[in-house]
């Protein structure tokens, strides 16, 4: 680049130098160079102007000045994200003085294939590969000295991810992680943590390292564990797992938008309405509402879309622009096949194992291949544009991309084809990443040979691909919501407020679900008032039809056109609807053992909350209260961590202290997972004298009957001896078990996870959708979560469910069966076997013929494989195409001439 002005590369965390005129990363969107006004010599000192002269496209115009735009909008959504922990907090750990102390952001850039070191993990000091790395947790979190008293909720999990990725790069790395509590409370996080610890052998140390010293080229750490011993060790590199601070310009945003911030400068919201700020029309989503992980941010983002859509129902569609696709180039598609083959490096994912250039050159030798090229990241914005241009320039009418799995990226590439007037069905992928490079990492030659075979088979199929029509079908503008708890009611209300009829089906005889058992929310609001308001709004809403004591019997059809039968009091009712939302909730797990059920003094947290609601009188005789966390969870009856029992326990403990300060409250815990702002409650509980004792799974506290009372025996790690506490009340923090989801899962063909909750389509990017189009998911049915998260997820499900209703039309999969009337002998085998009753027998003259109902056909192909006269063919998977792939399977081919004669 011509720009003479070097600046620190902020994108790469200043580990690299770049120019004033730069593009941060090749896949950036928009993919255009950017001149940093603060650094540019021309802008600041009116000198230079080198780039403007050399730019052939004349795209640089220094006369441009920043302009103020006035935008008339109906609502403003604040999603500015989070800020960085201040530098002085990092300096306490030697960051800035010792080069090998890096932040977790820098670590991400070091392990990234397109990062400053191309993914080689090196020590910034001497560029050697580290052998021993330490991860320090809670840097700038849970730290009142820098007034970040909250927990950033994400650092524990990302530290384990980064450590795992590091082990993948350098298998013989020795990694230690220093935790206070291991807070991996997300869905599937605990299981992943356990797998990582076993597979990579991390040593997990429960201690907070106060400071770091440099001893010649290594870093010395000293720490004391809770059994009183002090340790020290030398490490080659230390990673500071920095927390999430409020955005730097939080106050500026608050003043401009006229909203209030909370004590930590994050946006002030309430658990009942987590996405609304203190000003109507201004909403918040993502980390600015509170430190959270990517799945929660995505959920809140969709949730906010629902609220804005409710508010601006009348304005919908008034200012939208619809994309128009160019007419399909029919002539080009009829010409004899001209195939373009693009072999992808995928950074180092494929190119690290497979000789991409060799595969590309091999593709060139295949018949009908008119163009071949290798691309660094074929799925990035710039590569897609390049592919589109090459297809147009070389008049290609078939495209084969050898890269990752069609399951994830086929729609993306097909969209590119559509944008240049080529039918999306004229496209085939060879999976040389997930099913080749990634799984044959130690056998590069075989992997390269396998890639060549897969490309040959893809090209063989591509030769026979035909354009397929993309029919659209109308949508019934009505939603069916299963479950009348907090989540179910919120979804129904939101869809109705967006202007669509909603049917709310509840199994029990009253609305409310688990919300009925709560008295206070974690942030002190009156849960019963929230419940009453919700029920009132739902019952009063003209567009919501409530069916109590009702259950779903059966559902058929597809997105936009479902027909369900709901049984209510013995008789069944037929309902037509466009979308369905699962909000069937979960149950409090009833524990076994711990004398539960044998003594009235042993209760669960929810039962305790009802007892507290009765007020001080219920605690007249209570002197000692002992709570035990993770009862039946994390490996006992339930495998998973239920995320909210710690916060619930601390909430109740504080309530008891409020009612009767002199009560002693003990809490036995494995990990105190009061993540996010709930950390303040945990600190407040400690200040108010609640005693927290850690236990390990092998030394669990036991509840023992003693005469008429009960006592708890346990091992106290700090004292290093057994203790016994006589208790008037033992409270078991039990987890959340899934409701009986089995039959609903079979009924709707929606898979369950091992723990029995419903499996979402994608943990991060599609958290409220399921594999079956048109069915959405929220609340405890998706997994254990607090009221705040359940409401956000319910709003998100409402937004996603409303999309097909708003569009009114749904495009149906082009892969359907085509029955050739002439050959069909009307035997009816296909019609009987079709699992989706998508084939009907019709009168054709005096004979009967089979005919496909394209809208219901799912493209499975059972009819085609059972037709005696081979009259049925599947779009995109015809017999000829599959035979071509089989022939291309063996390098020397097999009897092509026989093949021709058989047709």
């Amino acid at each position: 680049m011509y720009c003479p002005r070097p600046i620190a590369d902020v994108y790469n965390e200043r580990l690299d130098i770049t120019r004033a005129t730069h593009i941060d990363f090749p896949q950036a969107i928009p993919t255009s160079y950017y001149i940093d006004p603060k650094a540019c010599l021309r802008v600041n000192y009116q000198t230079c102007n080198l780039c403007a002269q050399t730019c052939t496209a004349g795209a640089i115009d220094f006369s441009q000045k920043p302009k103020n735009l006035k935008l008339k909008v109906g609502s403003v959504i604040l999603a500015p994200g989070f800020g960085r922990v201040s530098h002085d907090v990092l300096e306490k750990f030697g960051y800035g003085r010792y080069p090998d102390v890096v932040t977790s952001y820098e670590f991400e850039r070091l392990t990234c294939a397109s990062g400053p070191t191309e993914g080689h993990l090196i020590r910034p000091s001497d560029h050697t590969t580290p052998k021993k790395i330490a991860f320090l947790q809670c840097i700038g979190s849970r730290d009142v000295t820098c007034d970040n008293g909250y927990c950033s909720s994400v650092c524990c999990m990302y530290a384990i991810k980064e450590a795992s990725v590091a082990k993948e790069h350098e298998p013989d790395l020795d990694i230690s992680l220093f935790f206070m509590d291991v807070r991996t409370q997300g869905k599937g996080f605990d299981a992943a943590r356990k797998r990582a610890e076993e597979k990579y052998g991390f040593n997990v140390i429960r201690a907070r390292v106060p400071k770091i010293d440099q001893i010649d080229s290594q870093l010395a750490l000293t720490w004391t564990t809770d059994d009183g011993q002090s340790h020290s060790d030398l490490f080659d590199m230390v990673v500071l797992s920095v927390g999430l601070d409020a955005p730097e310009d939080a106050h500026a945003i608050a003043d401009i938008a006229g909203i209030e911030l909370n004590s930590y400068d994050f946006c002030k919201t309430s658990h009942g309405a987590p996405l609304s700020t203190t000003k109507k029309g201004v909403y918040v989503a993502g980390a600015f509402q509170g430190p959270k992980d990517i799945p929660e941010s995505v959920t809140q983002a969709s949730g906010v879309a629902a609220i804005a859509s409710e508010l601006l129902k009348e304005g919908r569609g008034t200012q939208t622009v619809t994309i128009t696709y160019p007419e399909e180039d029919k002539a080009l598609e009829e010409e004899e096949p001209r195939i373009g083959v693009f072999v992808c490096h995928c950074g180092v994912n494929i190119a690290g194992v497979v000789d991409v250039k060799a595969v590309r050159d091999y593709a060139a030798s295949l018949p009908n291949v008119a163009y071949y090229e290798d691309t660094l990241y074929s799925c990035s914005q710039d590569a897609l544009k390049a592919i589109a241009e090459k297809v147009k320039e070389n008049r290609l009418n078939r495209v084969v991309i050898a890269a990752c799995s069609p399951r994830t990226h086929e729609p993306l590439f097909q969209e590119t084809l559509r944008s240049i007037g080529l039918n999306p069905a004229l496209f085939e992928m060879a999976n040389i990443r997930d099913q080749c490079a990634w799984v044959h990492a130690q056998e590069p030659e075989e992997a390269t040979q396998k890639s060549k075979d897969l490309v040959r088979m893809a090209v063989a199929k591509a030769r026979l691909l035909e354009p397929l029509a993309q029919p659209t079908v109308d949508v019934t503008p009505k939603a069916l919501v299963l479950g009348g708890g907090a989540a179910g009611m919120t979804v129904a209300l939101s869809i109705a407020d967006q202007g669509f009829e909603t049917i709310l089906v509840e199994k029990s005889k009253e609305l409310g679900g688990n919300l009925r058992k709560l008295t206070w929310t974690v942030d002190g609001q009156d849960a019963r008032k929230i419940l009453k308001d919700l029920i009132k709004k739902v019952e009063k809403h003209p567009k919501i039809d409530i069916m109590l004591e009702a259950e779903l019997e059966s559902t058929s059809g597809y997105v936009g056109n479902f027909t369900s039968t709901v049984s209510k009091g013995g008789k069944t009712e037929m309902v037509n609807h466009g979308v369905l939302v699962i909000a069937t909730g979960g149950e409090e797990h009833k524990p076994k053992g711990y004398c539960y059920g044998e003594s009235r003094q042993v209760v669960t947290q929810l039962e305790l909350e009802q007892k507290i609601a009765k007020g001080k009188s219920a605690f007249k005789t209570t002197k000692n209260v002992v709570m035990i966390q993770c009862v039946g969870s994390r490996g006992e009856d339930l495998q998973h961590c239920s995320r909210l029992c710690c916060t619930q326990a601390v909430k109740n403990a504080l309530k008891i202290k409020e009612l009767k300060p002199e009560t002693n409250v003990y809490i036995f815990y494995r990990d105190m997972r009061t993540y996010g702002f709930a950390e303040d409650l945990y600190r407040e509980a400690r200040q108010k004298g609640v005693i927290f004792l850690r236990y390990t799974p092998d030394q669990k506290p036991e509840v023992v009957k003693q005469g008429r009372g009960i006592k708890v025996n346990a091992y106290d790690r700090l004292l290093g001896e057994d203790i016994s506490i006589p208790a008037n009340l033992v409270v078991l923090s039990t987890g959340i078990a899934p409701g009986e989801n089995e039959n609903l899962s079979k009924l709707l063909k929606v898979p369950l996870t091992q723990e029995g909750f419903f499996l979402e389509a994608h943990a991060k990017l599609r958290p409220v959708e399921v594999a079956v189009d048109g069915i959405y998911l929220c609340g405890l049915a998706h997994g254990p979560k607090g009221l705040e998260e359940a409401v956000s997820q319910a709003k998100a499900a409402a937004a996603k469910a409303a999309i097909p209703l708003v569009k009114g039309k749904v495009a149906v999969e082009p892969i359907v069966s085509h029955i050739d009337k002439a050959t069909c002998i009307g035997c009816g085998i296909c019609a009987t076997l079709c699992p989706f009753n998508a084939i009907q027998m019709v009168k054709d003259g005096k004979r009967k013929k089979a005919e496909t109902i394209t809208a219901s056909c799912k493209g499975c192909g059972i009819c085609a494989s059972h037709c005696p006269v081979l009259a049925i063919n599947m779009g995109g998977f015809t017999d000829e195409e599959i035979f071509a792939q089989i022939h291309a399977f063996s390098p020397e081919g097999c009897g092509e001439e026989l093949e021709a004669e058989k047709k």
């Binding site: 399951r407 990634w438 799984v439 044959h440 396998k450 493209g859 017999d879 081919g893």
Partner: protein, 68 residues
């Protein structure tokens, strides 16, 4: 009876929704397995015709793995 260096060629018919997805998830977690299988993706195992399997053997496959 296995000759050294004999590398069988196996053709796989994988259903897009289940087995193909299982193969992808094995890839994502970087499990390693022998590279002898070449995969043809079909929308469902129901699509597989006896002819395809016989044709596969005729075209030099030593084994066929149909995954649903």
């Amino acid at each position: 009876m296995t000759q050294e260096g004999y590398n069988p060629r196996i053709l796989g018919f994988f259903c897009h929704w289940c087995c193909y997805a299982a193969a992808d998830s094995a890839g994502v977690s970087r499990y390693q397995y022998p590279p002898n299988v070449r995969v043809i993706r079909v929308m469902c195992t129901g699509r597989i015709d006896v002819r395809f399997i016989l044709e596969a053997f005729k075209c030099g496959a030593d084994g066929v793995f149909t995954g649903g």
